[in-house]
């Protein structure tokens, strides 16, 4: 499991250099318990900077303090946002034009930066986004071992796995779990599973987070990654060139991918994929999945759901709907807050709240 310090360091090294100067200063001065819990940094032109921490929103002050209310928040200009986007593109729009036209850029470390503004359209196709009005930096997390409790349910024998689909609503950790399963399947488990060649189609660069060809996330020793390409073409290239035992991809669901997925299945290659949804039955009728379900593409389903505020449930099911295993876990130490009369917020880890007042460099605002 990744420590909070590692997560804080990833934010400091991977994300902070791209932020506008004033936000950089404020985020650098954030308290560690807040820093490690940041899921998203939302920057909007003419609006205060917002941090999403464990499902709660806080507004950032110039001094590095946070409040639940937007007043006194750090407000950014359009120029600051545009400069930030230029930095994200490494001063090279031409190198990121495809990503920008899709509305996001993946930076070193696998963090996804979403962009919206006014699209420039040519022949019915978006070729650029100008006047960028909002930027959303989504912090990627690598949690080694998060799939250990359920991965054995995916092994057919010591040399084969069941084709598996991970299903959950957005933001529940599909990609994190997929990454961990890829690593285990690729490395193998001593005396239990031998390890297989895994080909990963990393369309958005979030699974492997390749930087100059080297995956920044550990995907195991038998894994080949093709990144920045659409799933259909990526699968075809892997099929032709890398002879994988397993092909893995994130966010399946485009009807254009169906024929290639069937081709992969017919070649005897196993699939490890994710999809947005709540359960297998919901997906069964959806365009892009119907044909795959009818062809029996998936033999195992992992459903991720949140039982309550901070307990995740991973449920493994077979094609007939039988539950094969359940793993419940608390991924992160969630935060709680108390508010002062002037809107300042005091943040501390939720799990510690009953026994003691958290004393570790807490975010007490105005230097108190």
């Amino acid at each position: 499991m990744q420590s909070g310090n590692t997560q804080s360091n990833r934010i400091l090294t991977d994300i902070i250099p791209y932020l506008p100067g004033r936000v950089r200063y404020a985020v650098s001065n954030l308290d560690r318990p807040v820093l490690k819990d940041i899921d998203e940094i939302r920057l909007r032109a003419g609006r205060p900077v917002m941090l999403s921490c464990s499902g709660r929103d806080f507004f950032l002050w110039e001094t590095g303090q946070v409040s639940e209310y937007p007043e006194n928040g750090l407000v950014l200009s359009v120029d600051e946002l545009n400069d930030m986007v230029l930095r994200i593109c490494e001063n090279s729009f031409y190198a990121y034009q495809d990503d920008i036209s899709k509305g996001f850029v993946t930076i070193r470390g696998g963090h996804r930066v979403g962009l919206v503004g006014t699209p420039v359209v040519e022949n019915g196709r978006i070729i650029n986004i100008r006047d960028i009005s909002s930027v959303n930096v989504r912090v990627a997390r690598e949690i080694t071992g998060c799939g250990d409790g359920i991965v054995k349910n995916l092994f057919k024998n010591n040399r084969d796995i069941y084709s598996t689909l991970i299903i959950s609503p957005p933001g529940m950790g599909k990609t994190t779990l997929l990454r961990d399963i890829i690593r285990t399947v690729s490395n193998g488990i001593k005396n239990i599973f031998d390890g297989l060649k895994v080909g990963v189609v990393d369309e958005r660069g979030e699974i492997a987070a390749c930087y100059r060809g080297i995956p920044q996330n550990d995907l195991g020793c038998r894994t080949d990654v093709i990144s920045g390409i659409n799933k259909k073409e990526g699968m075809e290239i892997l099929l032709r060139s890398m002879s994988p035992n397993v092909i893995s991809l994130d966010e399946l669901g485009n009807p254009d991918d169906v024929s290639t997925v069937l081709q992969v299945m017919n070649a005897g290659i196993r699939l490890l994929a994710t999809a947005h949804g709540y359960d297998a039955d919901g997906l069964r009728e959806r365009r892009g999945f119907r044909e795959l379900f009818e062809a029996g593409c998936f033999e195992r389903f992992i459903i991720i759901s949140a039982n309550n505020e901070y307990l995740y449930e991973l449920k493994v099911m077979d094609g007939e709907g039988n539950v094969l295993g359940i793993d419940r876990k608390n991924y992160r130490q969630h935060i709680n807050s108390c508010e002062f009369s002037d809107g300042r917020v005091y943040l501390f880890p939720k799990t510690n709240r009953e026994n003691r007042v958290y004393s570790g460099n807490s975010v007490i605002l105005n230097g108190t």
Binding site: E90, N91, Y94, I127, N128
Partner: protein
């Protein structure tokens, strides 16, 4: 032009393209691109600011005209700021401009060479005349 390949064919970010170019060549231009890359790592204004700073540093070392410096400065202002198609046409346009400058410099050199040759002959004649 190798830098053009790095940008248009390989699609590499500008900083990395400059680094690659500087490592694969040993010319004054590759020295310049390597220096711009180094400066871009510390400059807050990115490659644009680093490029201008590089020009300031190299101004005293290269025997080129003011017009050429202006052209080089324009390259830094536009490089990386547009999409691939626009970068391609910009690079093509700048290459033509530099070719014109090169031709002008060549003509200038030939003219001066001729002038010095004539001066030499005239000087020789003067010495001969004095001796007579």
């Amino acid at each position: 032009m190798e830098l053009e390949n790095e940008i248009l064919y390989m699609g590499r970010p500008l900083g990395y393209a400059l680094l690659q170019y500087s490592q694969n060549r040993n010319t004054p231009v590759s020295e310049f691109s390597g220096r711009v890359y180094e400066l871009s790592k510390t400059e807050d204004g990115g490659i644009d600011a680093a490029w201008q700073k590089g020009i300031d540093e190299f101004r005293n070392h290269w025997p080129v005209e003011q017009e050429d410096w202006i052209l080089l400065s324009q390259v830094g202002e536009v490089l990386g700021k547009t999409d691939r198609a626009n970068q391609s046409s910009f690079i093509k346009m700048m290459r033509e401009k530099f070719s014109v400058q090169e031709k002008k410099a060549e003509e200038d050199r030939a003219r001066k060479e001729k002038l010095y040759k004539n001066l030499g002959i005239l000087g020789g004649l003067a010495i001969v005349l004095v001796l007579i």
